[in-house]
């Protein structure tokens, strides 16, 4: 029986008692190696969890499993019955576990990108633009549009107020006379409003990002880490192959950016981006 895809992961302690740092390794015996064969059971766990993450907008999900082997230096052998968990984040997977007398996980492995371990991850996914006319897509695009309007409004106000604040600060800095009480109270009110606007626009930005991610998954079936191959938005007659790393929404269009994929099928160093226009202008 030959393992299909056997990986070895480094290990670090999850929780360390700071005062007794030198004693930590003997009180909490750490395994030195983690061996995982990414077979069907593990990969099905990973795909299930990563779907859950996207649908529920989670940052991390984990499940208990038994198919992971840990090597302990102290007993010089593999321990096959260590309670261990698969932890899946948006782009990576790692394992954690504990030695039985303890009841909490206290060691974790380093992270492995999901693309590395899933076989079907290294395939280019199509972008079907016709799906944008579905009612679900239309609703989400509308929602995104509202968010964007709010974002623009907040941003416009922010930049104008910033100019005013800069002028007032200049007045304070370049004249020898002290500011009047009214002016200084203006200054205070302005700066507080600017900071609140800043917070507001940041939160809207985050919302838009999440919404765009949701739209991309619901409509096109794409997530962060997927490989796509489309025509370049800016240079005609050019093909762009990239791995999605960032999803940005700006003015009725979604920009997907990430590292390019070379001819060999490896992840390259340069980054590229493509734009998907969500609203077509030709209304007949």
């Amino acid at each position: 029986m030959k393992p299909k895809k056997l990986y070895c992961l480094g290990i670090s302690p999850l929780y360390a008692e700071t005062k007794q740092h030198t004693l930590h390794s003997e009180l909490y015996p750490l395994p030195s190696l983690c061996l995982c064969d990414f077979n069907e059971i593990i990969t099905s766990h990973i795909t299930k969890l990563s779907q859950l993450i996207i649908e529920m907008e989670l940052s991390e999900a984990s499940v208990k499993t038994t198919n992971i082997t840990w090597f302990f230096e102290q007993t010089n052998s593999y321990h096959i019955n260590i309670p261990s968990y698969i932890n899946v984040t948006e782009t990576s997977v790692y394992f954690s576990g504990y030695l039985p007398p303890y009841k909490q996980t206290y060691f974790v492995t380093s992270k492995v990108p999901i693309n590395e371990v899933l076989d079907n991850a290294k395939m280019f996914r199509p972008i079907d633009m016709a799906r944008l006319s579905l009612p679900l897509a239309k609703g989400m695009i509308k929602e995104l549009g509202f968010r964007y309007q709010a974002y623009e409004k907040a941003n416009d106000r922010f930049y104008v107020l910033d100019d005013v604040l800069a002028a007032l600060v200049k007045l304070d800095g370049e004249t020898t006379e002290a500011l009047e009480s009214d002016t200084s109270s203006y200054l205070l009110a302005l700066s507080s409003e600017i900071s609140s606007l800043n917070e507001q626009s940041e939160s809207i930005e985050l919302e838009m990002e999440l919404l765009a991610k949701k739209l991309l998954y619901r409509v096109f079936g794409l997530t962060v880490g997927d490989w796509i191959s489309t025509d370049s938005t800016w240079r005609p007659d050019k093909r762009v192959q990239l791995q999605i790393e960032r999803i940005d929404y700006y003015n009725e269009s979604i920009t997907l950016s990430g590292p390019i994929i070379t001819q060999k099928g490896d992840i390259g160093k340069r980054t590229e981006s493509v734009q998907i226009r969500l609203v077509t202008n030709n209304e007949h």
């Binding site: 990986y7 070895c8 992961l9 302990f72 007993t75 052998s77 593999y78 321990h79 007398p101």
Partner: protein, 273 residues
């Protein structure tokens, strides 16, 4: 220089007359104590398998013991479940071990690569995962483990017989006298044993026993000079004879008495060797 001969172990005469069922019983009894092994500083061999696999493995061990006894071997089992086999003709000690092991050189290679990477694809390294192995080596410095895979065994009796003859073959090149007895603490309670149990107890019961605070005491955890257990109290002495007493409740005492310590007048002293 320590020139301790194997005669020192003749004090354990009662072990020599153990029959096979007693040996198996001793292995079963050691199961409880072996859970503390990851907390022990020394490497202790024996059946390194989870508790659930004992029923699967013990018949094989029994067959091997039978053939060894038939060939005149002495078999000794320590309270930790270490299996020591004494070759009949030249009285050479051999350590027998069973579990999920790995080739040292392959592991060293992986460990070296892991210092530069966070993870590795080791599909082509041909590691032996999830296969129970039986291995033995002479209880000397620099001897090599001889490894057998249990899933390759077809006829158990033949395999057991071959193990006996293999042990005689492989120990033929060793001299009868060795300068060091590497297993001189075989079946003797050491301070390290007590500390290992204390660490295990601290992990098991947490703050409900004083063992939790004992193993975290910086003054003694490096290496105590001697240990006295008496009347619900454990006293550890540092090298300058300062004592660090800790109370023992029922839980802690029942754990410590898993070790074969004889309480004479409710008191036992364990010295550093």
């Amino acid at each position: 220089m320590i020139l301790e001969k194997e005669q020192s172990q003749s004090r354990l005469d009662w072990l020599l007359i153990m029959n096979i069922s007693k040996l198996i019983q001793a292995l079963n009894k050691a199961k409880k104590l072996r859970r503390a092994l990851p907390f022990h500083h020394q490497k202790i061999h024996g059946l390194e398998i989870p508790d659930e696999e004992y029923p699967k493995v013990l018949p094989i061990v029994k067959a091997i013991f039978k053939s060894l006894k038939y060939h005149g071997f002495d078999i000794r089992i320590s309270y930790w479940g270490e299996i020591m086999v004494i070759e009949p003709h030249r009285k050479i000690n051999v350590i027998l071990s069973l579990g999920y092991f790995e080739d040292e050189t392959k592991l060293a290679f992986i460990r070296k690569q892991l210092t530069a990477n966070n993870y590795l694809d080791i599909t082509h390294n041909q590691l032996v995962l999830n296969r129970i192995q039986l291995k033995f080596r002479g209880a000397r410095a620099g001897t090599k483990w001889r490894v057998f895979y249990l899933d390759e065994v077809k006829v158990l009796d033949e395999f057991a017989l071959s193990i006996a003859s293999q042990i005689i073959d492989k120990t033929a090149s060793l001299t009868t006298n060795s300068r060091f007895n590497f297993f001189q603490s075989f079946n003797k309670v050491t301070i390290e044993d007590v500390m290992a149990i204390a660490r295990y107890g601290a992990a098991l019961y947490g703050r409900s026993t004083a063992l939790y605070f004992l193993v975290r005491d910086k003054n003694i955890s490096f290496y105590p000079d001697s240990v006295i257990i008496e009347n619900h109290q454990i006293q550890l002495f540092s090298f300058n004879k300062e004592s660090y007493p800790y109370g023992l409740n029922k839980k802690a005492l029942s754990l410590l008495t898993l070790l074969p310590i004889e309480l004479i007048d409710n008191k036992v002293k364990i010295e550093r060797r």
